[in-house]
Symmetry: C2
Subunit: 515 residues, 2 copies
């Protein structure tokens, strides 16, 4: 088992192996290593085929709506049974599966710093922060509308932590910037303040075009036409509606070989059947229809299969996270993604708590740990999620990224070399002894274990003397300390100037109001 980037870089202060070294400040990641452990298959292959069959029949017999004339025309030409009056499209399984098979099973999401490019698919994993929150919980613990400054601070933090290898998209909504212009500021923030891969705007096709144009400036137009530099989030309006906004955005991105996450938006029991099999067969039909459409736009366009998952309380109507139903849906998503040879979107440190309490921790892990074992490839909402996604929290962000490091270490499994078995150390120490001073330990103690910087591992008495800080306090302090230490990665000045020129021009053309 190898140490993470953080622990490898920790300063060696002594040779005795215990109390005398101190972790250095946060470090930018080297690559997140590929998953070395097996995936967890919840159901049998027969079960997988039952689900597949249910989804195929749904698409063949009932159909799905593509509420967009361009898409309907494309489906008609491709041979699907299209009803223009209702926007309904019935897709034969042979056509569907032939299209799905065109999608790559993995792809490289290129970063402007090639060292930070991330492969998505197979054993490779990308972790992106929370997406889309209108509110923040700031460093003073206040809940308020998010501002561009908050967005930029989240980008800075994501850049600095080793357990996030994707900068994200709309981490929070900068409500102090006009709706029609904020996609420009957000993309520029990802480009300027980080050199990790980022996600593009999806709220309008013209905004997706703007994001593409900025990427052409950054990467070169030729490169962008045939290489993925954005992975963007497109949602199905479940049940069974792909709308014009999403489809037009998929067209812009897929045509330029930019990746789309094709994500049904599942609130089990409300916009899906209450039963998990029913919910999944619908989800699967919706996702596959979207994947297939992207392939009609451009064969080989990278797509990610998955869904946004919650269960709806039949008591209050509220979304719930980390339920046994979302766990089952998560494992099924992995199994079906592998059946269709598609990268899998999943995960998220998601919860419904309004406070940084035990509920927040429980639900986040009930969501994220199954996603890891399910074989996820793209983990959205991996850090910062608060109160059903309405708020992005700086404290939760730091709590999550530290916990992610544990999960990422879990994916490395166990090393079983003769030295790992430590037979000589066991003989040297002998019954009743301790291993703290033996050479086998001294050789390894600096990288052996990961201690989250947001966790307290002192005694009760020490903890109490030091102010009885709970993990939210530790995390808030860590966020503030990290931001104080932030330094931006270098960016070519000519490109920076060109990007800013483009933004100035577009901003002058776009309206100022709330759309």
């Amino acid at each position: 088992m190898t140490g993470t980037a953080v622990s490898r870089r920790e300063t060696r202060r002594g040779r005795r192996g215990a109390q005398d070294w101190v972790a250095t400040s946060p470090q930018i990641s080297s690559r997140i290593p590929e998953r070395q452990i097996p995936v967890y298959d919840l159901i049998s292959n027969d079960g997988v085929e039952l689900i597949h069959e249910a989804s195929m029949r749904l698409l063949e017999e009932q159909g799905i709506e593509f509420r967009d004339p361009v898409a309907l025309d494309t489906w008609r030409q491709a041979g699907a049974e299209v009803d223009l009056a209702t926007s309904n499209v019935k897709i034969d399984r042979n056509l569907l599966l032939e299209l799905v098979a065109r999608a790559p099973s993995d792809y490289v999401h290129n970063a402007r710093n090639p060292e930070r490019s991330v492969r998505i698919g197979g054993r490779s994993m990308g972790f992106a922060p929370i997406y889309g929150s209108p509110y923040v919980r700031d460093l003073e613990g206040q809940r308020r509308y998010a501002r561009l400054e908050d967005f930029e601070n989240f980008v800075r933090l994501a850049y600095m932590v080793p357990s996030l290898n994707i900068s994200g998209g709309t981490v929070c909504e900068p409500t102090d910037v006009p709706v029609a212009k904020r996609h420009l500021d957000m993309l520029y923030g990802h480009i300027r303040l980080s050199d990790k891969p980022f996600m593009g705007g999806v709220t309008h096709a013209s905004r997706a075009e703007d994001c593409l144009e900025m990427c052409r400036i950054l990467f070169g137009a030729d490169f962008v036409q045939d290489n993925t530099v954005m992975t963007s989030l497109t949602n199905c309006n479940s049940p069974l509606v792909w709308d014009e906004t999403m489809l037009s955005v998929i067209r812009v991105y897929a045509a330029s070989k930019q990746a789309c996450i094709i994500s049904p938006f599942i609130m089990q029991g409300a916009n899906t059947p209450i039963t998990t099999a029913g919910a999944f067969s619908q989800l699967n039909a919706e996702a596959l229809a979207g994947v297939a459409y992207a392939q009609l736009v451009r064969a080989g366009a990278p797509v990610i299969y998955g869904a946004t998952l919650s269960t709806v309380s039949m008591k209050s109507g509220a979304p719930m996270y980390g339920t046994s139903e979302t766990q089952v849906l998560t494992f099924l998503t992995g199994q079906m993604a592998r059946r269709y040879k598609l990268p899998m979107r999943t995960g998220g440190m998601r919860h419904g708590a309004k406070a940084l309490d035990v509920q927040a921790g429980f639900e986040s892990l009930q969501t994220m740990l199954p996603a890891i074992l399910a074989g996820g490839n793209f983990f959205l909402h991996s850090a910062g999620w608060m109160e059903s996604g309405l708020s992005a929290s700086f404290a939760k962000f730091m709590l999550d990224v530290e916990q992610l490091s544990i999960l990422q270490r879990l994916t490395q499994g166990i090393s079983l070399t003769p030295a790992d078995f430590a037979a000589d150390a066991i003989a040297e120490v002998g019954p009743g002894g301790h291993f703290l001073g033996c050479q086998h330990t001294i050789d390894r103690y600096q990288t052996a274990f990961f201690v989250p910087r947001t966790s307290d591992v002192n005694t009760y008495e020490q903890w109490h003397e030091e102010g009885a800080k709970d993990s939210a306090v530790l995390a808030t302090e860590l966020a503030a300390r990290s931001l104080a230490e932030y330094a931006p990665p270098p960016l070519d000045e000519a490109k920076d100037e060109a990007l800013r020129d483009f933004m100035r021009r577009r901003k002058s053309e776009l309206p100022d109001g709330i759309e």
Copy 2:
């Protein structure tokens, strides 16, 4: 997927499927259903055999100490290589495996109410609360030494919640009762206040005898001689020492076919090699040697294979929970338990936090969720664990039992009948609709989802208006409410009188001080 006992019993108040019903107060469990989902194997069979080989060589070449003359004599007679001067016992793998094979792969832990008896092993699972805390966090949130009253309240709560099917042992240490007498009060508390299975005393052979005697009064002497009515916790003093106290307790219990959990006490890096393979090969050797010894006492005596797991911070020396290392050890414990056909001890909602914060939630789930997927059979410390086990918390207890219900539902997997696929409901609702009012939902909404009583699923505004209670507050209120509703199960008066007579006699014979 079926509902839990709790949700099945919830009162039907309306037919429209959403806001108009209310969960009833806590209910005693029907049985916890058997695991229906596959276990997660982290390593290959080749890896399993590498670990097995390392442990066999350790026991054959280096040996393990049995610091107890009776045990040494028994090992000598069995054919092991015994060094009386050092207490070292070298055990040939043929002898060891022949003994291990005598242990049953599962057994029934009988409760005084046969409806509450629990099978341990295979797909069956027993969940017991925290064990051994000297402190409590009480209902006023104070941290103080535990009293008998606290112990009894935990027993009452464990009796009332459906997700615990074992009453536990030394849930917390009643420090207001003399050390030499408290085992009597604790066993009586389990017997009188609950009718779920319980654990016996292990701090001295004579105390184990007392527990046995009380069980003979309760169940009848003949029954107890051949049926398991206690499962008790015996720890190896890692590394590689079984001491006289534990061995003499194993002798008392195993001779009477009472079950022992044979548990190395693992603090990885301190009392084991720092490497996970080294730690596990030692753990495995220690556990198997203990299992084998129990079989020398009585062939077929029920034993549980497993360990207490923590990782030691190389920075502070403190134990850590929910690390990637303990997760790997947990999965390995499951795989090796299956290799040796033994029930598996694991689990626990264990953490190092001093506050009921996100750290507490994270670490508890990082520990418990892998234990569930690893195929655990006996889950100790399933509820109430606080600050590395030093405190038993009433609030954490309620938080944990609610979360356990989610994990227990996860073990039921997914139902894939035609009705579950809900094709008619999907057709009825159609694209863009919602499922809340359809017949398929109405038929199922009352049992469909589990909402933890300690979680808030309201909006931020509602939550704020209702006092901004975090989950610890909700849990404390739930604990108090539950205790107010407690009613004891019936107990035969003659047996009760006989039990109290025995306790009076024994208390008059035993010393009053602190041992």
